[in-house]
């Protein structure tokens, strides 16, 4: 076991207190629509200047892991993913809450997040250097195809027809182009509007497309927001633990998928939950229940997205390439502290790194009691607060949250406008998930496409650039599989039934 003495160093009362405070603060921040893990970590950076690097890292890692879990509350109870990595949690979490199983969904999400976080931290502890090479194997064209894979997968997974999902994904990509182009500085698709010059901020769009339609429908009827079918006194912990044990393979598989996909900088976090969800549904005997409140779906997504915390730290610490925006903030804090990230970090600064990793284990374990208590409180609040107070509170949070990301009134306007557009599109069978993921992955996809296109055109090997690399071909195969899997499965089932009849 690498550096057992660092485990003892991580278990000082001060570090336990930091981990606890970080997890609680992160969970609360993550549960509020508009407040992101990046913002929470960034705000706390000045506090960490006076700390030892290991203590600072433990605090920031605890906030980060707590915020990723906290995103599940809004996804389950309000159909609004607190973070992009919780998008797939809405698929089954919200239907569970609607039918009266919100408390079970929140407890399942907590257990899954803890398991995912522990698996991610274990990979970080034992397999960082070899796994970091995976991130280096991905070039620009691979990131382009990875983004396309994410979009085809969510188009196939979300409710509605595949074609509508693909149209939604294209619309999301189009939204990501709005504003000043990063590569060439051309002003694109603003049609003369100054409001659109700054582009469409991802988290504002996410809040608008998911949360505003829910609010619009909540005010329209006097019905309760969530159904309550039983006395809401407990966590339903025994039920959730039994379910987690029965579906332990789903839990472990999703955690490993989350860690491995989370290693890929930028694209990892938002795609990991989707890949795990897709795989859970493919492997499940109850695949028809997915999308209608299947607990396995919540389990898969939440374990995967918390595993990306440990996975994302692998390229951050070993290569100095931040896996996610919070990783980038933490990397900046490390540089200020004088810690140089890179392949020699684990040998030159072993004390700091291993103490931090054990601190991450500690924070993840502390997430179980704190997450259960905060989750129970969040659920009870949502089901007991009168609608006339719940709607304005959530609406106010969406406004202040959208504003605070870039201190921009335009972002709030865009958030509300996209919410109205999302409500109409949802009525016509267009799900918000492909649009949001198109917006998130648009920048990665465009950078990869333009770089590959430029190199391919310059070397006169355009087709080989896009279709001639082994990793690209593997991802293209997955894209085709995600698009045609329903067709293949239907044919396969028909063939089997005809064989059985004979």
């Amino acid at each position: 076991m690498p550096g057992l003495e660092y485990l003892i160093a991580a278990l000082t009362p001060f570090h336990i207190m930091l981990a606890l405070a970080g997890v609680v603060a992160g969970t609360i921040v993550g549960s509020l629509p508009g407040l992101t893990a990046t913002m929470a970590v960034a705000v706390l950076i000045p506090i960490t200047f006076s700390m030892e690097p290991a203590s600072a890292l433990i605090l920031m890692g605890a906030i980060y892991t707590g915020a990723i879990y906290g995103g599940a509350y809004a996804a389950i109870l309000l159909n609004t993913p607190g973070t992009p990595s919780a998008i797939a949690t809405t698929f089954d979490g919200f239907p569970m809450a609607k039918r009266g199983d919100g408390d079970l969904a929140v407890t399942l999400a907590c257990i899954a997040s803890v398991v995912g976080g522990l698996v991610g931290a274990a990979f970080l502890l034992w397999l960082s250097p070899p796994l970091a090479k995976v991130a280096l194997a991905f070039g620009s064209v691979e990131y382009f195809w990875l983004a396309m894979f994410g979009l085809t997968m969510i188009s196939a997974l979300s409710q509605g027809s595949l074609l509508k999902g693909l149209i939604g994904a294209c619309f999301g990509l189009l939204l990501s182009f709005v504003g000043v182009a990063e590569i060439s500085a051309d002003v694109r698709f603003t049609f003369g509007s100054r409001t659109l010059l700054g582009g469409i901020e991802i988290v504002s769009a996410l809040i608008g497309l998911y949360c505003i339609p829910v609010l619009i429908d909540m005010v329209a009827t006097p019905d309760r927001h969530l159904k309550v079918t039983h006395k809401t006194g407990g966590f339903r912990l025994a039920e959730a633990l039994a379910f987690s044990w029965n579906y332990k393979f789903n839990l472990i598989r999703s955690s490993v998928i989350g860690t491995l996909v989370g290693i890929l900088p930028g694209a990892g976090g938002s795609i990991a939950g989707l890949v795990a969800y897709s795989e859970a549904r493919r492997a499940s005997k109850n695949s028809k229940d997915f999308g209608h409140g299947a607990p396995e779906g919540v389990q898969a997504t939440e374990s995967a997205n918390n595993a990306t915390v440990g996975g994302g730290f692998i390229p951050t610490l070993v290569l100095g390439i931040p896996g996610t925006p919070p990783d980038a903030v933490i990397l900046g804090a490390l540089l200020i502290q004088g810690v140089r990230t890179g392949p020699t970090l684990f040998t030159d600064n072993g004390s700091t790194v291993y103490t931090f990793i054990y601190g991450l284990f500690l924070a993840t374990l502390l997430m179980l009691p704190t997450g259960l208590i905060i989750g129970r409180y969040a659920y009870r609040t949502i089901i007991t607060v009168p609608k006339s107070m719940l709607v304005p509170t959530v609406a106010f949070m969406t406004i202040i949250g959208s504003y605070s990301i870039r201190n921009s009134v335009s972002d709030v306007m865009i958030m509300i406008a996209l919410g109205v557009v999302g409500w109409f599109l949802n009525r016509f069978g267009f799900s918000p998930s492909p649009i949001v993921l198109g917006l998130i992955l648009g920048r990665i996809a465009e950078q990869g496409f333009v770089q590959a296109w430029t190199i391919g055109a310059a070397t006169d090997e355009l087709p080989a650039m896009f279709f001639g690399r082994p990793i690209s071909l593997a991802i293209i195969a997955f894209i085709l599989l995600s698009l045609f899997y329903p067709l293949i499965r239907g044919r396969w089932a028909a063939m089997r039934s005809s064989t059985d009849a004979e």
């Binding site: 913002m39 705000v43 196939a156 409710q159 509605g160 027809s161 595949l162 074609l163 509508k164 693909l166 149209i167 294209c170 619309f171 189009l174 182009f177 182009a181 590569i183 060439s184 051309d186 049609f191 609010l215 619009i216 429908d217 909540m218 005010v219 009827t221 006097p222 028809k288 999308g291 209608h292 009168p386 609608k387 006339s388 107070m389 719940l390 709607v391 304005p392 509170t393 609406a395 106010f396 949070m397 406004i399 202040i400 504003y403 605070s404 009134v409 306007m413 509300i416 599109l425 949802n426 009525r427 016509f428 069978g429 267009f430 996809a445 465009e446 496409f449 333009v450 899997y485 329903p486």
Partner: protein, 163 residues
């Protein structure tokens, strides 16, 4: 798979006229965006957007053709309830946001909170609710205002009137 017609038990069975119409709207949007790409000078700016727009037009065309050749479920989610309250909610949010630079975040936010509370109110206004609900509104707005301005150091607009 939820995208297969067999599994769409929660969806309506009428033909997808609205989906076809939306596909038409998306084609028009893509055409307008395509025209906008002609104003861009750098190939890096328009090469990927054009590829996406072409894909969008193709998918919309396929959806229209599919709906015409093989009318199927719309996948639309019917929504019952008061349209007036829906419009009032959006108007309150947009109105308060538009007023924010003038009257400041605190007053605009408090106004939006009170207006949306009245829009979402279905229970009778008892004397208790008349007193407690507005006080609770003010308390929530104050707590969030302090949290964002003092703890998270977000510069919320103070408004032209109070500068």
């Amino acid at each position: 798979m939820p995208n297969e017609p067999n599994d769409m038990d929660s969806m309506t069975t009428k033909s997808d006229v609205a989906g076809t119409a939306m596909a038409g709207v998306f084609i028009l949007l893509a055409a307008a965006a395509m025209w906008d790409t002609t104003t861009m000078v750098d190939a890096d700016s328009y090469v990927f957007p054009r590829a996406v727009l072409i894909a969008m037009i193709v998918f919309c065309g396929l959806l229209i053709v599919r709906n015409l050749v093989r009318p199927g479920p719309s996948g639309a989610n019917a929504s019952a309830g008061s349209s007036a309250r829906r419009v009032l909610l959006v108007a309150a949010m947009l109105g308060s946001t538009a007023l924010m630079p003038v009257v400041g975040f605190f007053i605009a936010g408090l106004g939006a909170f009170l207006a949306i509370m009245m829009v979402a109110m279905y229970d009778p206004w008892t004397p208790y609710r008349r007193i407690v609900y507005p006080l609770a509104c003010a308390a929530i707005v104050v707590v969030f205002y302090i949290l964002f301005t003092r703890v998270l150091l977000v510069p919320l607009p103070s408004g032209l009137l109070f500068d």
